[in-house]
């Protein structure tokens, strides 16, 4: 499970960086959501058990700082991980561009799922959609820029932890 621990450390760093970015952008009412990055590399590159554990722990990390039921993000990330893992043999999963596209799509799906789950608690109505779409746009843009760097960081961390998966994983 060394790979899971190494990936969890990178997800811990990711969460801290996203939180700092949101803190800095709070004055402009812009908010970034990076759920796709928590799942993509683990699902595309790691053996199922280690990657699933990392995605699950990453979800719990997001849950503990959000006013949602504890386990909400964890279940969503775990589901996204399972879906991507099942589809990965049909993709060029070693290509960075493919990984980025998968991250963007997973992020989009997770964002809309969380929005639907929060519709009642956050009184999301017609007037909320401009803000939601703006947050989604900026989140996808930030993900497009940061994803290649983050995937490289995760690969390097796995190499340092001597947990880099083989191509057959």
């Amino acid at each position: 499970m060394r790979g899971a621990v190494a990936l969890f450390l990178t997800l811990y760093l990711l969460r801290a960086l996203v939180a700092e970015a949101n803190n800095a952008l709070s004055g402009l009412h812009v908010w970034l959501f990076a759920g796709g990055l928590f799942v993509t590399y683990s699902a595309l590159a790691m053996p199922f058990r280690e990657g699933f554990a990392a995605s699950l722990l990453g979800g719990l990390l997001c849950d503990c700082v959000s006013p949602v039921g504890f386990g909400t993000h964890a279940v969503l990330f775990a589901f996204a991980h399972t879906v991507v893992f099942n589809l990965r043999e049909r993709l060029q999963r070693d290509e960075t561009a493919v990984r980025v596209i998968v991250a963007l799509l997973v992020n989009l799906g997770l964002f809309f799922t969380v929005t639907v789950l929060r519709m009642r608690a956050s009184h999301i109505g017609f007037g909320s959609w401009p803000r939601l779409l703006s947050d989604l746009f900026w989140s996808e843009a930030a993900l497009l820029v940061a994803a290649p760097w983050f995937f490289a960081l995760q690969l390097r961390t796995l190499e340092l932890a001597r947990a880099k998966p083989s191509r057959l994983a």
């Binding site: 009412h29 775990a78 099942n86």
Partner: protein, 279 residues
């Protein structure tokens, strides 16, 4: 056939694992989930606090670059403001003594007092789903859940979670926060709720159950203040300015829009009001 079945089982195995994990989580005791949540939060708290201290240090070193003349000028301006506040404090003490004397004469119940806990804002989390901030005081300063949080401009929100040395404040702009309010000069209660916070825009809130004889517009706004009902917020604290009212669908009341102070998005320090009997 056997190879086909084996392939289908291999494809279904991740979903089976997902199902087992979800089922195990749903059946897990609440105490375990509470412990796990607290543990994960405390794992992230040092990073939040550390980045906040680094920001403070950054501002300190930026201030050190100011010339002595600038600091002397700022000190002189602050001295004038301090003198003004000192006079106001003396007047407040006199008024409080008068209120206590009248309360004793009329045998009225004592007005609740508050302990003021000033706390630095460590992190802001302003999404479309929630509006929260993390402050650098928690159970170590006996901050209770539900305590009102204020600043120089009025209401910030209320404490929604308390941890070992941090607390989470639900802002007045959060769509899930409701406050019992009154229009300045009126005693009839109305309901305030956090509203949509558009990108690059100023924070806003919504009001309901506004009496039909209340009028407000952008050119003639009305001050919205806490009513004191419910016992959470002391009465008279500014929430915002009512800039628009219109008749509701049923015609019995009006609804409206409240413009909040833009400083809410940039606060660096807030004050938590802790009731004296909570000590």
């Amino acid at each position: 056939m056997r190879i086909g079945r084996s392939q289908r089982f291999d494809q279904a195995r991740p979903f089976l694992a997902l199902g087992v994990v979800v089922a195990a989580w749903l059946m897990a005791p609440i105490a375990l989930k509470t412990l796990a949540r607290a543990s994960f939060f405390e794992m992230t708290a040092p990073v939040v606090a550390a980045s906040s201290y680094v920001n403070d240090l950054q501002k300190f070193w930026a201030l050190r670059l100011h010339s002595k003349d600038e600091l002397i000028e700022a000190g002189r301006d602050m001295a004038r403001i301090n003198a003004q506040y000192s006079l106001s404090v003396q007047q407040t003490v006199e008024l409080q003594a008068e209120v206590d004397r009248l309360g004793a004469l009329l045998k009225m119940p004592a007005i609740e007092g508050y302990r003021y806990e000033h706390a630095r804002v460590a992190q802001r989390d302003f999404s479309a789903w929630w509006q929260r901030m993390v402050i650098r005081k928690g159970a170590d300063y006996a901050i209770p859940v539900g305590a009102p949080v204020v600043y120089s401009g009025g209401v910030v929100g209320r404490v929604s979670e308390v941890h070992a040395y941090t607390s989470i404040v639900q802002l007045a702009t959060d769509p899930g926060l409701r406050i019992a309010a009154v229009v300045d000069g009126d005693t009839r209660p109305i309901s305030y709720q956090g509203g949509d916070n558009q990108v690059f825009g100023s924070p806003k809130g919504l009001i309901e159950f506004v009496p039909l004889d209340v009028y407000a517009s952008t050119s003639v706004p009305k001050r919205l203040a806490t009513s004191g009902l419910g016992g959470v917020y002391p009465p008279g604290l500014t929430i915002g300015r009512i800039v628009h009212v219109e008749s509701s669908a049923d015609g019995l009341f009006k609804t409206g829009e409240v413009e909040l102070d833009p400083r809410l998005s940039e606060l660096t320090e807030v004050t938590v009001l802790v009731k004296q009997d909570s000590l």
